[in-house]
Every structure is written in C-alpha cells, then in structure tokens.
Symmetry: C2
Subunit: 374 residues, 2 copies
C-alpha cells in the first residue's frame, strides 16, 4: 500500500539533499567541535557556517543564533529566561498555544507565582489584538508576551510585527513560537521587534532533534542547560553536528524555493478545500483557512456521525496519514485544546497538512477514500 502523508505540520520527511549534507558528519567528520585539532576544527567550521547561514536567512547576526535540541527546548529556554533573567512577572499568552509554551507557562506560573493572562481569541481563531494591547498596557509588572506566529492546528497566522510594536510600546518582552513558519515564510529579525523566536529542523524537511533559538542582542540571558562552553556559553553539551548542518541546509533549501513551494502547496490546499466542500457540503472549515492562514494547513470538521467518529483510524487503514490535532498531544487522546478553545464546531476535526512532496493525485485518492468511508 502506498502511503499518503498529509501530516506535515507534525513532521516532514528529510529532504535527500539535506541527508547528503549530513552524511559526512555521520562518518569521517566526527570530531568534537570543542577540540582544537584538525578533526575538531572542521566540525567547528561546519557549526559556525551553519550559524551564519541561518543568521543570514532570518536577518539576524550570528551572535543571536543558538542551536538547541528542538523547538520545545527553545521555547522553554526563552520563557525561563524572560522570567528568571529579564524580570517578567506577568505572562500574556493564549489558550491556543502549542503545549511547549502552554505547559511551560503553567509550570512557571506555579513555580514563581506569576500573573498569567490569556488573550481573547476571535471565533475564527485569531488573537484579539485590541485585548492584547489592553492587557499589556494595563499591567503593573513587566510583561512577557508569548504568542505563536502560526497556530499548528488551525493554521491561523498572527501579525507578529504588530504584536512586536505593541510590546515595544510598553517595554514588554516578546517571544513567539515560530516553529510552523520558519522555513515557510520569510522572517526578518533585523528590525528588532522580537526578543525570542524558535524553530525546529524537522518542520521544513530537516532533521529531528535540532532546534533554533533566536535571542535578540538587546537582551542578555543565562543558559537553561549548564556545563561546557558550547554555543558561546549559552547551551552546554557536545554539539549535534549532523543536526546543525542538516538544519542549516534544510533552511537554505526552503528559503531558496520559498515562493515556488508556497504557490504549489497553496494550490493543493485550495484544491482540497474546494473538492471537500463540493463532496461533503455539511463539512465546516476551522480557523481563518482562506485568509491569514498557513498555506500548509487545512483543518476541517466533519459532521459527527458513527462513521466519522473513527475517521482517523479508517483513513490510516487506507494508508492516509492525517491528524486530529497536534501530534504532541495526540498520544494523550484528550482531543484538541485549540479546537476546544474556539468552541466553534461540534464536528470531528481533521487536520490535513501539506508539503512540496504532495500531489493532486494524492488528494484525489484521499477524496475517493473519503467518499467511500462517509
């Protein structure tokens, strides 16, 4: 059975070109980058070249780029630093953040007795910016705003430059989980409207186990993980060289083909949306799917029936991989906290998420299987 993979917001297959770039560092180029001899210098060079590549693409300086083990560690590091190093005593966030932020905020709230406010979310899943401004402006303490650039479940995009402007006006610290947008949208940190941003290699055809934390040089923080002097004393531990090389290569490829890939993937999203609407008129679309939304994500709710209740599993049996929400919580099987927060549709939510490797033929096959199943 040929599998059809439509869960690219959970993870993406590694680009063969990225794999190619990584392989030398899995074999001959294995030195510890902290070692001073030739084996170490060649891997040190690879790490620093990767840092420069990433910095160039997000328009930051190499000194603002830190490699971590993934998006979750990066989010944790930023949030902990904002509270413990930058004096933020009030976190303004939303109920539709990824668990890497949501649960870390809960943990910090309890640990440090912080004030936490949740910005209102509009019915179609956008952050209410007027409410955000009220919350930040009305705070008597230094605020950390943590709002994701794009929601991983419904795809809604936030105007992060606007949020950055609000934060600047009130001297708040701004962190954004940009895991779903890095490698998919151009990010430009040169104008200093954000303090922390995060990325994960495996969301744009790079490797798992490697992440990015952008830290604006306007703030000075401590590490989350202490030890050796790696990452300029900011993230201890022997560098995951193949991961770092793969991350930079994947971002480079994504950036080089961004417009072409975007256009192609958006056409897939629109195609599937139109056909689904024709085929199952009772189906509803979650989030601002046809507006400010990731071109990689389409989240729909099927009318709840005996047949759609088990839709994920039925699709899996036909070799079709889609999800009901975030992979990070699907094991927990508690349904989506994002869909719950929207309180919109009583149906069965399914997230289709696309990559450059998907085709119209695959979508036709999905539509055919859905027609059979429902």
């Amino acid at each position: 059975m040929n599998r059809i993979y439509l869960d690219n917001a959970a993870t993406t297959p590694l680009d063969p070109e990225v794999m190619e770039a990584m392989l030398p560092y899995l074999s001959t180029h294995f030195g510890n980058p902290s070692s001073i001899y030739s084996y170490g210098r060649e891997t040190r060079l690879a790490v620093e070249n990767a840092r420069k590549t990433v910095a160039r693409i997000v328009k930051a300086s190499p000194g603002e780029i830190f490699f971590t083990s993934g998006g979750t560690e990066s989010d944790n590091m930023a949030l902990v630093a904002a509270v413990e190093d930058l004096g933020c005593r009030h976190i303004v966030t939303s109920a539709i953040e990824h668990h890497a932020v949501f649960h870390t905020v809960e943990h910090l709230q309890k640990k440090h007795q912080l004030q936490v406010s949740y910005v209102a979310v509009t019915p179609n899943g956008h952050i209410d910016l007027a409410h955000l401004k009220t919350l930040v402006a009305g705070s008597s303490q230094r605020v950390l705003v943590s709002l994701m650039h794009a929601n991983n479940e419904i795809g809604n995009l936030l105007d992060i430059e606007e949020v950055g402007a609000i934060c600047k006006e009130y001297n708040a610290i701004f962190h954004s989980d940009t895991v779903q947008t890095l490698g998919h949208y151009p990010l430009d940190f040169s104008k200093k409207w954000i303090h922390f941003a995060t990325g994960a290699g495996h969301k744009f055809h790079g490797p798992k186990g490697i992440g990015l934390l952008y830290v604006s040089d306007e703030v000075s923080i401590h590490p989350l993980i202490h030890g050796g002097g790696q990452e300029r004393n900011m993230r201890a531990g022997t560098e995951n060289i193949y991961g770092i090389v793969g991350f930079a290569k994947a971002l480079e490829l994504a950036d080089a083909h961004l417009d072409k890939d975007k256009q192609y993937i958006l056409s897939l999203k629109h195609y599937l949306a139109e056909r689904l609407h024709q085929q199952i008129p009772e189906l509803s679309f979650n989030g601002d799917w046809n507006g400010e939304s990731l071109y990689t994500v389409l989240n729909v709710s099927f009318p709840r029936t005996e047949k759609t209740e088990m839709l994920l599993m039925a699709l899996d049996l036909q070799g079709i991989c889609v999800s009901g929400g975030s992979a990070c919580s699907s094991g927990a099987d508690m349904g989506s906290h994002v869909i719950r927060a929207l309180r919109s549709t009583p149906g069965v939510p399914i997230r289709f998420s696309f990559s450059k490797y998907n085709t119209r033929e695959q979508l036709d096959e999905v539509l055919r299987v859905l027609a059979q199943l429902i």
Copy 2:
C-alpha cells in the same frame, strides 16, 4: 596525511553498524512517534524497543530510562530535580567533576542558596571516601551526592556501589555522571544503589545529540523541559528517533563485545604507557593510571620545555589528535581544572584516549613523532 585519532574520551567515530541502523529513520521511517497512524506507530515502536534494549543492558526497568539530547542535559535534569523536587539543600560533589556537573552545581548553589561541599581528592585523583562519609553523615540537611563514575581527564574510577551504600545509609540522593563508563563497563542498576545516572551516545560509537537519564523508580521528579507528553511526560519535544535508535544500537554492540574490546584497548593503553616510560623517563603519569582507571584513558605529563609547551599543536600538524583535557573546556583554553585540582605535576598534560579502532601501529607512529618532536 592519515590522521591518528586518540581522543575517544571527547567523542568517538560512529560505528558503521550503528549508522546502518539509523538510516531507515532518516529516510522512510520518519513519522512523528506521537502520531497514531502507521508512520507514527513504526517510529513509536522503534523508540520503545530502544528503551527496552537500554533497560535490559543497565538492568533497569524501561520506565526508568529517559532519552534526552545528551549527557549534559541529563546531568542538568538530575541535579535540578534533586534540588527542586527532592528537597536536597546540600550538594556534596568534587572539584574534578565534568563541567556539566560542576557549573550546574555552581548555578544551583547561587539560585537556591544551597550548601555545597567538595570531597577531598587523593594525590592520585581518587575521591576520599572517608571524607565523603563524614560530609554526608554530618549534614543537617538532605544531601545530594554527585560524583562521576570515571573521571574524563585522568580516567580514575570511583567505586560507585560503595558511594551508593553510603548515600543509602544517610538517606542521601545519589547522582553519578556515568558518561565515560556507559558502554565501556557493565552497569547494574537493579540493586537500587543509585538514583540518577547519565549517558551520551557519542562516547561509545553512537550518535551525538542523544543522551540517557536513568531515574530510579524510587524517586518521583518533574521534567526540566516542559511541553508535549513525550517520554511519559518527562521530556517534551519530538523524539530524535535516529538518535534514539542509534544510541540503543551502539550500546547493544558495546555490551556484546565489552570484554573483548576492553582487553584489546587495555593492551593498547599498557603498550603506550610502557613505551612512553622507556622513551621519555622524565614523563609522569596522572591519576591512578595502572590501578582503578578507565582502560580507555592514559593521561601523562611531559616535562615542561619550550618544545612540549606547543606539543598539542605540533602533534596536530603531524595528524595526531590528542587533547590537553576535556574537549568541553578546551575552547576556553584555561587549562584543566582537574589537573589543577590534583596539584600534582608541573608538566604539560596530554590525554591519550583509545577506542577499538586504534592499533599498535598507530601508537608506534605516535611514539616516532614524539621522539622527533621532543
């Protein structure tokens, strides 16, 4: 120029068999293990099989095995948990710990106003167990003992079961950085004499960027990194599947050939020691090199002369990779804190560290080059 790599305590080359085991997870088996469909189930299975393999080898239950991004993260997680979750207010450690412990203890001391005591070290680099007992017995607060199983610079081995017994007697928590011994010595956690132990894949021909934290099921702790429910809610973030698969495969291979490799590598160490002693009689050996010591490490001090001052670099120019101490601090170029703590030899310390891939011919070549250089 053929390079001779004798810095295996810093990092080891990946075993081609390990690479082979990892490759499918870098290509076709890429699903997010938290996803419920087939792609996710096959990687979930790989992760849980890896956990079982590791558990079997260290004689733990799979529920006591957690995968992290490396030895440093594991050390940080254990130390933070002992202080923040288990109520330890007094840390007993040594001045010759790896920076992953040393600097993390310093950080925790400052953050939580902890008491920290440093156990005396004997002139040949062993932990003074009588002093340790006095410190633990005399404490009015709950103690965390953190002492490494084998010193990464001089190779001295600690009797960790004896330390575990002392800790048990006084209800202290015991953490050991076992990064240099996992995969090189049999570890048996079934007798519950230790609470936390750590490992790093790249120290035994596995991949970088992946580590182990053993947590005894006698203690209950919180995660260091919050977010999704991965690792049974103990370590959030999409799993580094290839890393996890590679870690388990490398440990399995190391365990299967442990005695044979040990015998072979020990013969290399003894061969080099004897020849060095004959060739340069003024040279001294650091640590208990011929007693309770890693078979993988030989640390010697060359008499300090104009020629030996630049020995590391001169050897590097001849394609020979050795180090002056820990790779994690060599970038800092401040000399070795371990050698300083021993206050023994005024010479120029060089660490030779061996693996199964080294040969006598390589050592002969090193001896030949040394004869030329000195």
